[in-house]
């Protein structure tokens, strides 16, 4: 026992400076910040969690490498091997003393933060969520550093190798869904931060030693098991290597290859997950100053809306009025007619994703737009005809709209219904216009009335959702349901395919199945969801629109981090298990325009127009 105590004292004596430096950064700096805030007459607070979260892993790696390499070099190693004690015993003492240094350096500041801060600060990962899970991650990273030091016996090279392994531990679970259970972000986001026993949901369990209750579920313990597995494997490797005097001759080559290989593995994994797999049947080249914003087609004819863009200091930007072209499709080819300028003197704002279009008249599109400047404007109905021989009528004013608002339109047989907000500075009122489109290119106003309440509210928030139908005579309940869903012109409005409503919000793609239908409303029940991947969350991917047909949902997204639009195709034929089956990424100056065709193909528009086939994973 004295031997163990002596070894432990020796290790502590040599590694205590690391603890001092770490506490100086993780605790000293936040304390200084708190004092500074107090002197500025603000609330004194210790915010150590950002420091610990961002640098704790690196500290663990460096302490592990230092613990192993300190005595494993040249004659010093010979000296220690000549002592009357087992190599494993010596290494285990080193390991656990170093591990204690790491855990104390990282845990103590978090505990201080919890004790000192009387109110919870809105941190991305607050201390009470880091405390249950991060110690296991730090132990795993420390073990990897210890193993690297034991194998290489050279500090700098071992640190580079261990840092490469750290990159894989942090990011591989993000890019590879099968091992997401080993990801820190996955396990933290599965925890609940509850404040009293009464609020703890039934399937959660509290961790009693945490001052503010953090709940966990048993499946999250897989993360703990994974990290402990890394610890045990790394320790076994280190002890085995030292006992048998195995070492890897390292040099610059090892450093470069290890870092380069780790980066390549991560990139390839991410690319594999996000790869474009929709077969491109035909590409229609557009002039470089055109960018597609909407497309509609029945599989044979259609209309393509584009906007004029000009190169700017930060990339292309919209410059002039919209225009549109007639489309003609065959099995594997697209042809476009000449560009026709959109009617009206100004571009205006319009809900391009939900323009009213009917297969019976594939080259005519109706949409409501708001035009105006300086807080004065009005809504008008635009009829765009892609047939130069049969142009659409001029824009039809509907109501005054000094304030922008979500607009929507829906066509049914010979009627067009448009909704929006009438605002004239004195009052606001939701309006609905009914128009006669028996002559499709020359709509006539039938009535403009205040719109009674109907609609769906926000899908995605609740398990049950009711959709109230508009008071339109002559429509069947199914048609009323399609109108209520289809007329919603708001951003990220849901879409409907048969009995299933789908949509996206900040965190997930969700599906609802029709449970009840009558003449006045429909009730939906949430049956499935697909959470946004870690990769998409980290890169700030946001969804803008979804369109459904034939059991496939095409979701158009925009990746803020790399300024790139994408389309993701979800298979909802089993609504309880929606899952992605296709991806597509091409250049565009905004979210890609998508329109699925009845035969499984789809049109996707960005800087060019693409005719793509169905995803290969769909039978």
């Amino acid at each position: 026992m004295r031997q163990l105590a002596s070894l432990a004292w020796k290790e502590w004596h040599e590694s205590r400076w690391l603890l001092v430096v770490a506490l100086g950064v993780f605790l000293g700096l936040p304390l200084a910040g708190g004092l500074e805030a107090a002197l500025a007459r603000q609330k004194f607070a210790v915010l150590a969690s950002p420091w610990v979260f961002s640098l704790g892993g690196i500290l663990a790696v460096f302490v592990g490498v230092d613990a192993a390499c300190r005595d494993l070099r040249g004659r010093l190693e010979d000296f220690w091997r000549s002592r009357p004690m087992g190599t494993a015993q010596w290494l285990l003492v080193k390991y656990f003393v170093g591990l204690a240094v790491v855990l104390v350096a990282c845990i103590l500041p978090l505990v201080v933060e919890l004790r000192v801060n009387s109110t919870c600060y809105a941190m991305p990962y607050p201390a009470e969520l880091l405390l249950p899970w991060c110690p296991f991650l730090w132990a795993a990273l420390y073990s990897l550093g210890f193993a690297a030091g034991s194998l290489l016996r050279r500090g700098a090279h071992a640190a580079m190798l261990a840092l490469s392994a750290m990159l894989l531990v942090y990011f591989l679970p993000v890019v590879l869904p099968p091992i997401k259970w080993m990801g820190l972000a996955w396990v933290i986001e599965g925890s609940e931060n509850v404040w009293s026993i009464a609020e703890t949901p039934a399937h959660f369990h509290r961790i009693p030693w945490l001052p503010r209750g953090v709940g966990f579920q048993f499946y999250q313990l897989s993360f703990v098991g994974g990290m402990l597995g890394i610890c045990v494997a790394s320790l076994a490797l280190a002890v085995g290597a030292v006992r048998r005097n195995l070492r890897i001759e390292s040099g610059v080559k090892l450093t470069y290859w290890s870092v380069g290989t780790a980066m390549l593995i991560l990139f390839a994994s991410a690319a594999f997950q996000l790869a474009t797999n929709l077969p491109i049947l035909h590409t229609l080249d557009l002039p470089p100053e055109e960018d597609v914003i909407m497309v509609r087609s029945d599989g044979g004819r259609g209309v393509l809306f584009t906007r004029h863009i000009e190169p700017g200091p930060y990339g292309y930007r919209p410059d002039a009025a919209d225009g549109y072209r007639a489309l003609t499709l065959s099995d594997r080819r697209i042809e476009a007619g000449p560009l026709i300028a959109a009617p009206g003197p100004e571009r205006g704002y319009w809900s391009r994703a939900r323009a009213a279009w009917q297969p019976d008249h594939p080259d005519v599109v109706h949409f409501v737009r708001r035009v105006g400047r300086d807080q004065k404007g009005y809504c008008e109905l635009v009829t765009a005809s892609a047939d130069p021989a049969a142009p659409g009528s001029s824009a039809l004013p509907l109501w005054r709209a000094d304030e922008p608002s979500p607009l929507g339109q829906f066509a049914w047989k010979d009627r067009l219904y448009a909704i929006g907000l009438r605002s004239d500075g004195a009052s606001d009122r939701q309006m609905m216009a009914t128009l006669d489109i028996s002559d499709t290119r020359r709509p006539k106003v039938v009535s403009i009335e205040p719109r009674p309440y109907w609609g769906s509210g926000a899908f995605g928030r609740h398990d049950m959702q009711t959709v109230d139908f508009p008071p339109i005579a002559g429509m069947s309940p199914r048609e009323l349901l399609r109108a209520a869903i289809g007329i919603d012109g708001s951003n990220r409005a849901p879409c409907i395919d048969g009995d299933v409503v789908c949509g996206v919000n900040e965190a997930e793609f969700f599906t609802y199945r029709l449970k009840q239908l009558d003449e006045h409303h429909a009730v939906f029940e949430k049956v499935g969801q697909y959470a946004q991947s870690m990769l998409d969350k980290i890169s700030g991917t946001t969804a803008s629109d979804c369109t459904a047909a034939g059991g496939l949902v095409y979701v158009s997204t925009w990746n803020r981090a790399i300024n790139t639009p994408r389309v993701t195709v979800f298979d909802i034929r089993d609504p309880k298990r929606p899952h992605p089956v296709g991806h597509f990424a091409v250049p565009g100056e905004g979210p890609l325009a998508v329109w699925p065709l009845p035969d499984g193909r789809a049109l996707i528009g960005g800087r060019k127009l693409y005719l793509v086939g169905p995803p290969p994973r769909v039978d």
Binding site: A156, V252, K253, Y256, W257, G260, M263, L264, F267, A268, A270, A271, F272, L274, A275, T276, E310, P311, G312, P313, N559, I562, N563, T564, F584, A585, V586, P587
Partner: protein
């Protein structure tokens, strides 16, 4: 001379393989998977090449040799130090643009004519190669007297950061637009002007002449430093 070239090739060929593999694999995976637009992906490959290749090439020539202790033995050979530096420079240039050639070939095979024309792809890589060669010369001169590879790598990164910041200054300050000719990043950013915010653009021929003169001057200075290293070694012996 051929012996010197063979020696340098034998020592540095693994770096050429590493650079070719990393850049070509990055380009191939990105273009085949079509994660982002082709132009964006190729810009990433170019950025990776600009950051990685000059540092990889410059640190392994003279500083690594000095770190291993073989530089003095090399300089003691009956060969002029300038010839030794010529051999090292030629291999360094090969390391600077060789991987870019491999990445360009892979890019053309994987996605030539798809979203970018072959000419646009080649143009991008040629401009990137010019930037990496220019940076390599700067880093070679800066690290000629560094005692070890690690310190040389840090100094090389410092040179890279300096030119990044300086080029950003040239971009935002209208009065310094002509100084783009001095920057290695002229070939990637300084040779084009935004039509909405036009600025003075140095003609490419002028910039090439200026860059060539700078490279010659830096190389001549580095050669002198190496010769001084020889003289001091002889003095000690």
């Amino acid at each position: 001379m051929s012996s010197l070239l063979w020696k340098e090739w034998h020592e540095q060929r693994w770096k050429l393989g590493f650079g070719c593999l990393i850049l070509a694999a990055f380009a191939l995976v990105g273009l085949r998977s079509r994660v982002v637009a082709d132009e964006t992906l190729l810009e990433w490959v170019s950025f990776l090449g600009i950051v990685l290749l000059p540092v990889l090439a410059s640190t392994g020539l003279v500083p690594a040799e000095r770190d291993e202790g073989s530089l003095e033995a090399l300089l003691a050979l009956p060969v002029a130090p300038s010839r030794i530096l010529i051999a090292k420079t030629l291999i360094g240039l090969l390391l600077s643009f060789g991987p870019l050639v491999a990445a360009a070939v892979v890019s053309l095979l994987a996605a030539g004519g798809r979203e970018m024309s072959d000419g646009a792809v080649i143009d991008l890589y040629v401009r990137t190669a010019a930037t990496t060669v220019s940076l390599f010369v700067w880093m070679l001169a800066a690290t000629i007297r560094m005692p070890g590879e690690a310190r040389a790598a840090l100094l090389s990164l410092g040179v890279l950061i300096f030119w990044v910041l300086a080029s950003m200054g040239f971009a935002v300050a209208p009065g310094f637009a002509r100084l783009w000719a001095l920057s290695p990043f002229f070939f990637t950013f300084g040779s084009v002007s935004d039509p909405r915010e036009p600025r003075v653009v140095v003609p490419v021929a002028v910039a090439l002449a200026v860059q060539g003169a700078i490279a010659a001057g830096l190389w001549w200075w580095a050669s002198g430093q190496l010769a001084r290293n020889t003289a001091s070694a002889e003095g000690r012996s």
